[in-house]
């Protein structure tokens, strides 16, 4: 154990998976045998755990899983199986690592089938085509309380810029998640909340996260039937 305790700020960032790799190693080198920092992380753990529970986990019906996995094995291109958006997610404790795992495979496979929005209605599924600008394809797996958007062909972003998902319900548009594509142009992001018939999921490029209304052109949209 190193003698200097990490700051509380750094312990909080560590608990969120937000430290840089070198900083993270520093904390992990320090932790063994340090009761003080151990207690602090234990105190943070319930808050971090409940963050993960704040997005409902989705479980597709077995028949949908089997059908799409079969397509994935036979048709999906290898580079479509690249890791989701966000190059650091592999070591994050966030929900994108856990409940999204199965859906990621489903969404990627659906993209391989031809770029369709796959709606899981609980007793079956229906497909609705995704409208996108040239070169972009993808799919949206719609669940009761959250959905997973998987895209390919996304252009690299300028520094600080992000892709932003939006949900249009009637005349109201609410911001959803920010995401960045990986080096292959693949991206995956969760759309939190229930999507109703007629709701539209859209994606724009924004100069920075935090916008409350779209400022860029709509690159892709999918309307729930």
């Amino acid at each position: 154990m190193s003698t200097d305790h990490p700051s509380r700020d750094d312990l909080v960032a560590y608990s969120l998976g937000a430290l840089e790799p070198g900083e993270e190693r520093g904390v992990e080198d320090h932790l063994p045998g340090c009761d003080r920092c151990d207690r602090e992380l234990e105190a943070l753990a319930p808050a971090v755990a409940v963050l993960g529970e704040s997005v409902e986990q989705l479980e597709p019906p077995p028949e949908l899983r089997d059908r799409v996995l079969a397509v994935a094995r036979s048709e999906a291109e290898p580079d479509r199986t690249a890791e989701p958006a966000g190059h650091r997610k592999a070591r994050l404790p966030g929900f994108l690592l856990r409940p999204a795992t199965g859906l990621a495979v489903l969404a990627i496979a659906a993209a391989g089938v031809g770029g369709y929005l796959v709606r899981d209605t609980g007793g079956g599924e229906s497909t609705v085509p995704v409208e996108a600008t040239t070169g972009i394809g993808g799919s949206l797996v719609v669940g009761d309380t959250s959905s997973m958007l998987s895209l390919h062909g996304m252009a690299p972003l300028p520094r600080q810029a992000v892709y932003q998902a939006w949900v249009q319900h009637g005349s109201a548009v609410r911001p959803s998640s920010n995401f960045i594509p990986d080096n292959s142009g693949n991206a995956m992001t969760a759309i939190d909340g229930h999507l109703s018939s007629g709701d539209q999921v859209m994606v724009t490029q924004e100069s920075a996260p935090g916008h409350t209304t779209p400022t860029g052109p709509i690159l892709l949209s999918a309307t729930v039937d």
Partner: protein, 82 residues
């Protein structure tokens, strides 16, 4: 854990989990936007605090402080029976 519980208890556990998730969403919604934003970008977006600071054009210390304040509020909300 769920597999070891009888169906009735499992349903109750799921109901509690959903209730907690709903209240957590409310708690996140009650945080100042600058605090919930950095937590969401870190936890759900997978960005490091340095990347978030760069994206938001804010000092790193400010981003770290917002994360800590936001998480402290979530902890407090949990302690009060979120």
């Amino acid at each position: 854990v769920l597999e070891t519980q009888p169906a009735e208890q499992r349903t109750e556990t799921e109901a509690i989990r959903r209730e907690t998730a709903g209240r957590l969403r409310q708690a996140l919604g009650l945080l100042p936007r600058e605090q919930s934003q950095v937590i969401e970008l870190a936890y759900f977006g997978g960005f490091s605090h340095s990347e978030i600071a760069e994206m938001l054009n804010e000092p790193l210390g400010t981003v770290k402080g917002r994360m800590r304040l936001g998480m402290d509020k979530i902890r407090a909300a949990l302690a009060e029976g979120l």
